[in-house]
């Protein structure tokens, strides 16, 4: 395992709010992701989970509240290329749609190399990353349009890892994949975390996926935190009605449609 200070939080979010015109998308959200930990944010559409992810990576600006990653504040937009680069090396993101999250004109290898070069890292790491996410030689040199959804998502993960971030935000990163592929990627993500000690912040609507990948979970509804805690506790013994409703809506063996 990696020598990460278990005490330090990889991500600390306090009093986060986001308004879009009159719409209050994120309301007073607080959470931590411990270094090397894994937090799942669950919610239905419109719950504000993706907005939180975008604020974390700096694609949206919080209306109020603070975001700190590895102890450094990033609630204000980065000034200058240096700061942008540093933030990039702290936290990366993998998006949902593998078909649009890669530059269609760039091969996996080129995309990874571009990032490595940008962060001044050794280009020989490319092969390492390609191997780490389980891409073949041929796949690594192919354009995205010649890859399947799962392969593309592996490329996206490799590209994010190329910055060697401490935290990886997974924004519905497996929900668009076929079931059999989803399992592969989930296993891959678990392996990576085990190898590198990277912290995950998984945004998902799928409780089962969260349970599989995360230690802690945060349930979000209409921008507010409903419930937060260890996965086992929250999912097995929900304290809130909403969490219970969510959980019961998931079809499982013996599940009845007319609740």
């Amino acid at each position: 395992m990696n020598a990460v200070d278990a005490q330090a939080n990889a991500v600390e979010v306090r009093g986060l709010n986001k308004f879009f015109k009159a719409h209050h998308a994120v309301v007073d959200v607080d959470f931590d992701v411990p270094a090397g930990g894994s937090l799942g944010i669950v919610g239905e559409s419109g719950s504000g989970k993706t907005t939180i992810a975008r604020m974390l990576v700096g694609l949206e600006r919080p209306t109020s509240g603070t975001i700190a990653v590895t102890g450094r504040d990033r609630s204000r937009p980065a000034r200058g290329a240096r700061e942008r680069g540093r933030r990039a090396r702290e936290l990366q993101i993998v998006f949902q749609d593998p078909y649009t999250s890669l530059d269609p004109s760039q091969s996996a290898r080129a995309a990874i190399e571009e990032v490595l070069r940008h962060h001044g890292r050794d280009l020989s790491l490319t092969q390492e990353l390609v191997d780490q996410v389980g891409l073949t030689e041929r796949q690594a040199s192919a354009r995205p349009r010649d890859l399947s959804g799962g392969q593309r998502q592996r490329v996206a993960i490799a590209r994010a890892l190329a910055a060697s971030p401490k935290v990886l935000v997974l924004d519905e990163a497996v929900s668009a994949l076929d079931v059999s592929i989803q399992a592969q990627v989930l296993n891959l993500l678990a392996d990576i975390r085990a190898e590198t000690g990277i912290a995950y912040l998984l945004i998902s609507h799928d409780l089962a996926v969260v349970r599989q990948l995360c230690d802690t979970v945060l349930v979000l509804r209409r921008g507010r935190v409903v419930e937060q805690g260890q996965c086992e506790r929250v999912l097995d013994a929900p304290a809130e009605d909403y969490t219970r409703a969510l959980r019961e809506a998931v079809p499982v063996p013996g599940w009845s449609v007319n609740a």
Partner: protein, 301 residues
């Protein structure tokens, strides 16, 4: 050798038969224009009154015009002015339009609003009218006509570039690059521009064709290229020949204009890979695009 072959194959596949034919035709026209002094059988301005309206013969392959100038040579040299003007127009409007469109699409918000408003305003002035007014200002000539049409074509191309860039801009890969710490300039130039290049090149080819038409119309009206400079538009305006029944004098340049524009539009549509002609996409069906649900990946083959 192999790579030449494969490039050829790829080109063939991308452009299709009509596209390849168009390309071939345009290459011939372009070569004729560039090499005009070498390929033209005679000096396009050399007149000999004895040959006035001479029919096609060994001396004049397509015959001669009203003051005995070789028609073929005038057509060949005419390709120069006829192509140069549109090239300038497209070049200038791309040079100004692309940065504006990229800025607007990158920043969105009020920047986009202002740029779009300005485009709308210029777009409200018909290019031909703008050109006629410019001519009223500076007098006829290629330069004022080119300047006016360049201005008129900026929104024409910039709107398309903006829409295409906007589509890229909202693509997660751009967000991913931004999260990687890449700056706006690098992302727009190295990624967005590269990805919309086919659209830009294709639409530029189509715009080239339409600029050629507009410029030829102006030359026809006597407002752009001036006689006796050989130019296709000017040659079509030779009412003298028409009245006297020498149709070839008028029809040959007319047909060349039509064929060149046809080739350009076909090629442009092929390159940009779109079905409806892009110049019509005044407002991309935004509502429809936005409504289109994100389909689950791989829902059906």
């Amino acid at each position: 050798m192999n790579s030449v072959k494969s490039t050829w194959k790829r080109l063939n596949k991308a452009l299709g038969r009509s596209g390849m034919l168009s390309l071939a035709f345009l290459v011939v026209v372009l070569l004729a224009a560039v090499l005009a002094p070498l390929v033209a059988p005679a000096d396009p301005n050399q007149s000999s009154l004895l040959d006035a309206y001479a029919g096609p013969s060994g001396a004049h392959l397509l015959g001669a015009d009203g003051i005995g100038r070789d028609l073929l040579s005038r057509l060949i040299f005419g390709a120069r002015t006829s192509l140069l003007g549109p090239a300038l127009i497209v070049g200038v409007s791309l040079l100004i339009g692309i940065p504006l469109a990229l800025l607007a699409s990158w920043y969105g918000g009020w920047v986009d609003g202002v740029v779009a408003r300005v485009f709308d305003l210029v777009y409200a002035l018909p290019g031909l009218l703008l050109a006629v007014l410019t001519v009223a200002l500076f007098g006829p000539g290629l330069t004022p006509a080119v300047v006016a049409l360049s201005i008129a074509y900026i929104p024409f191309l910039a709107r398309i570039v903006r829409a295409a860039a906007r589509q890229q801009r909202v693509s997660p890969y751009v967000d991913a690059l931004a999260v990687q710490g890449f700056g706006m300039l690098r992302i727009t130039v190295r990624h967005i521009l590269r990805n919309i290049a086919p659209v830009v090149v294709g639409q530029a080819a189509i715009a080239f064709g339409y600029a050629l038409l507009d410029l030829a119309s102006l030359s026809y009206l006597g407002l752009a290229v001036q006689a006796p400079t050989p130019d296709w538009g000017v040659m079509v305006s030779d009412s003298d020949a028409m009245l006297k029944g020498y149709w070839l004098q008028v029809l040959a340049p007319g047909v060349l204009i039509v064929l060149t524009v046809l080739a350009l539009t076909v090629l442009g549509a092929r390159i940009s890979g779109e079905k409806p002609p892009g110049y019509l996409r005044r407002r991309p069906a935004k509502a429809v695009a936005a409504e289109k649900n994100r389909t689950t990946v791989g829902a059906a083959a």
